[in-house]
């Protein structure tokens, strides 16, 4: 099963990299871009056939390892 984990830094936490990317885009003339936030995606290949239990396990992985609960939120998407 293919599972995608989307990880985003919480909105209140600073994202200097996003800010720098926005600035560079403006320098290149793309001044219609008013803000940029960066995120990460993890594409997992997971063995298993029950969507629900796979999802549960991946949520577990996120809580323990994949996301940093202190500054990030995540979303799990099972692609099947």
């Amino acid at each position: 099963m293919k599972v995608t984990v989307h990880i985003e830094r919480r909105a209140v936490i600073a994202d200097p990299e996003g800010a720098m990317i926005a600035r560079s885009l403006a320098d290149l003339g793309y001044d219609e871009v008013t803000a940029v936030r960066t995120g990460r995606t993890l594409h997992l290949e997971v063995e298993g056939d029950d969507v629900e239990s796979v999802e549960k396990r991946v949520i577990d992985m996120c809580d323990r390892l994949l996301a940093n609960p202190v500054i990030e939120d995540y979303r799990v998407e099972v692609d099947q």
Partner: protein, 244 residues
């Protein structure tokens, strides 16, 4: 002589275009050392080149006029914070147009560490540098074997020579799907997963060279190794040849 600049004081833009040389052993060729916001090895490169008698000039990334400059070094550091991808934003600095022109004209263009990454992003060299295989920053001396003497950096080195130079990078793993890579030096041991153990690569003309370890950090015995000097001497000599 006890100039704060020698300790590593800022390459202040208002001081730019000031030239310095310890001794004019060579002609009046000038090697430009380009500074982007976030660069940090520019004064080290300048120090090491000046110790060889070369004349150097710090060039700010917004400068577009490189007249009077015969070769350029893009030094190490974290240009634009390495944000997005290392070298990605620096590639668009105004100075890079002139750097590309120099490369096309066959002038020596050398990128060290972050400078190498910038040259790849600017497509002046093929390939890209991605995170080290073990995902950790590596700062330690490594052995590299020079395998190609036909470049501006290695002209003075016999193929097969092993040099000890400090590595100092996180994104040091060279990769190039094109596969017709001109490898100039290889790591003796596979330290970071680089394709073909590439530590340095060049363009077809041999005048544009990217090298991951730092020759300037091993340019004096007191720093633990003087093996980098032969590379910098090669650059100085190549610059001289070009301008004759």
């Amino acid at each position: 002589m006890a100039d704060l600049c020698l300790l590593g004081t800022t390459p202040l833009p208002h001081r730019l275009r000031r030239r310095g040389s310890l001794a004019s052993l060579v002609g009046d060729e000038v090697i430009g050392v380009v500074v982007f916001p976030g660069s940090n090895c520019e004064l080290d490169v300048q120090w090491a080149l000046q110790a060889l008698g070369a004349e150097t000039e710090i060039v700010w990334h917004r400068d577009t006029d490189l007249s009077g400059i015969d070769a350029v070094v893009l030094p190490g550091g974290f240009a634009h914070g390495d944000y997005l991808r290392t070298g990605a934003i620096a590639r668009f600095s105004p100075v890079m147009t002139s750097v590309a022109e120099m490369a096309a004209a066959g002038r020596p263009v050398v990128g060290i560490c972050n400078g190498f990454q910038i040259l790849c992003e600017a497509r002046l060299l093929g390939g890209a540098l991605i995170a080290n295989r073990d995902l950790s920053f590596i700062c330690r001396p490594v052995e590299i074997e020079v395998v190609d003497s036909g470049t501006v950096l290695t002209a003075a080195v016999e193929p097969g020579t092993v040099l000890t130079l400090p590595l100092n990078s996180y994104e040091g793993q060279f990769t190039d799907p094109a596969e017709d890579v001109r490898i100039v030096a290889r790591y003796v041991a596979d330290v970071n997963g680089s394709q073909g153990r590439a530590a340095a690569v060049a363009n077809a003309g041999g005048n544009v060279v990217g090298i991951m370890p730092h020759p300037e950090r091993s340019s004096e015995e007191i720093l633990g190794s003087a093996d980098g000097r032969v590379l910098l001497e090669g650059l100085v000599a190549a610059t001289e040849r070009m301008t004759v």
